[in-house]
Symmetry: C2
Subunit: 291 residues, 2 copies
């Protein structure tokens, strides 16, 4: 299988679980489930679930075992996008080529759709916790990655720096490490927790590097990409004086940093036994993606 075939095979496994979840989700009033599904089913790369399935396979953890964790992670990621896009946050009209949640359902319903996705993610994880202690630990690890020392801290720092026109390297790194890298770290390290901690530190570091790389390339694409490919408004970071890799280092130096971090990802994977080829290809995809 080439990279794309392998990626799609993981994607298909995940999408089947996601679709079954969406089919079973019926709320009263309907607008609640409709607004949740609208954002869940609007595509996206699903890179977190794919990463989780790939690491699980490498470690010999059954896909069945991690699928609910992958689902909850995608729910958490999707809630964060809906709230991030709100008028009082990033005020985005488009996401993945479609109108953002609040543009379709109104801001009040979008707030609730986000809350609902976050809460449902944990409802799924509490069910997983019934299976034993390592399942509890993996759930807690994901929750911490999403929380006040993780993704939410990064979002808050992002707002803070924008409001206070802060242009500082330490804050930039703090934002990226938390807002983007913590959930990607959760994706690759949670299977290690389920496997009793095997390669936990290695994958934690890999997740952090890959997450930073992901955001770095996102920042580059916001400057150099196109709406047609990315499905979202381009050039917004600059327009809003956002603190990003590109605004701080410029495009050329950002590309150099991206190459350095990419190399670090590969070296980390070289230290792990088993077939890490696909994970290396994901790192290359993250570095060179145009979408």
């Amino acid at each position: 299988m080439n990279f794309q075939e392998k990626y799609d095979s993981y994607l298909n496994i995940f999408n089947a679980r996601l679709e079954s979840f969406c089919r079973s989700l019926e709320c009263k009033p309907e607008i609640l489930s409709e607004s949740m599904k609208y954002s869940l089913q609007s595509g996206g790369k699903r890179i977190r679930p794919v990463l989780m399935l790939a690491v699980a396979e490498l470690l010999g953890v059954d896909a069945e075992v991690v699928l609910d964790y992958a689902l909850s992670l995608e729910l958490i990621h999707t809630y964060s996008l809906i709230h991030d896009d709100l008028p009082e946050m990033d005020n985005d009209d488009y996401r993945r080529g479609k109108l953002t949640n609040h543009k379709v359902f109104g801001a009040g319903n979008a707030v609730l759709a986000g809350d609902a996705l976050l809460n449902t993610a944990y409802s799924i994880l509490f069910d997983c916790c019934k299976k034993g202690r390592e399942y509890v630990d993996a759930a807690g690890f994901i929750c911490d990655g999403a929380g006040v020392n993780g993704m939410i801290a990064g979002q808050s720092a992002d707002l803070y720096c924008e409001a206070n026109k802060i242009n500082d390297e330490k804050w930039l790194q703090y934002i990226v490490k938390n807002k983007t890298a913590k959930l990607i770290t959760a994706a690759v390290a949670a299977p290690c927790v389920l496997k009793g901690g095997k390669y936990f530190l290695e994958f934690k570091q890999f997740g952090e590097d890959l997450g930073i790389l992901f955001q770095l390339v996102d920042d580059i694409l916001d400057e150099k990409g196109s709406f047609d490919k990315l499905g979202k408004t381009i050039g917004k970071d600059k327009e809003e004086n956002k603190l990003t890799y590109v605004s701080f280092y410029g495009i050329d130096e950002s590309c150099v940093i991206a190459d350095v971090i990419y190399d670090r990802c590969i070296k980390l994977l070289d230290g792990i036994e088993g077939d890490t080829e696909f994970l290396k290809q994901i790192a290359a995809f993250v570095r060179h993606r145009e979408v």
Copy 2:
């Protein structure tokens, strides 16, 4: 001890845990923890934690065992108030006599403060889950009460009826049962789950009735109460054509219904062994409160 002394004794136990939580909560940027603490420390009756501690004592469950559940419940309740008060939701300027979260910190930070409280509540509960299966079940029960078949469904239905000018008894009951009663049910039934299901059905029914009673009296106070006592703007329900007990049945019939539900609460408690006196007094307090 009279009722107030007993209430205060539970309140003091809970407030000590809450204060210790707040002291240990330090986020970067500070505005994240400050906005969370602002709403957590703005007072309120803390009726959910007090109920949980009272039921735990009745069942012989150690206060220590339920305190983290009580804390997480109060965090969930507080997040729901912050998001409910947002301009795109109820658009409230005052809560408990103080400016609402978004009025102080801005809507973006208020969205994040709510997200952060919800996420932290579950982080605390995942820690509890390490102690064994009944702890997992109690955490899952609280999560379901807060979720898309619980509180969030009620909030969504509330928005839906307001947007569509629906004036319907079934929707009214659905809103109240979910938006208000599900978390109060979680407060009184979670200790039963921790005790292997003892009196679970009885307390589930008691929680639902007490929750409905709580909301009914809230609706009456919105019509008849005062800002000085309630600390929030009065008459807003009517002004915004909200579907409430008072708008649907009128004040007099609402009071009759409240008395009927109060009687049902007392009968339910009569069916439970042990000293239910304090819980009866809470029901009386909920029925006749002016705050």
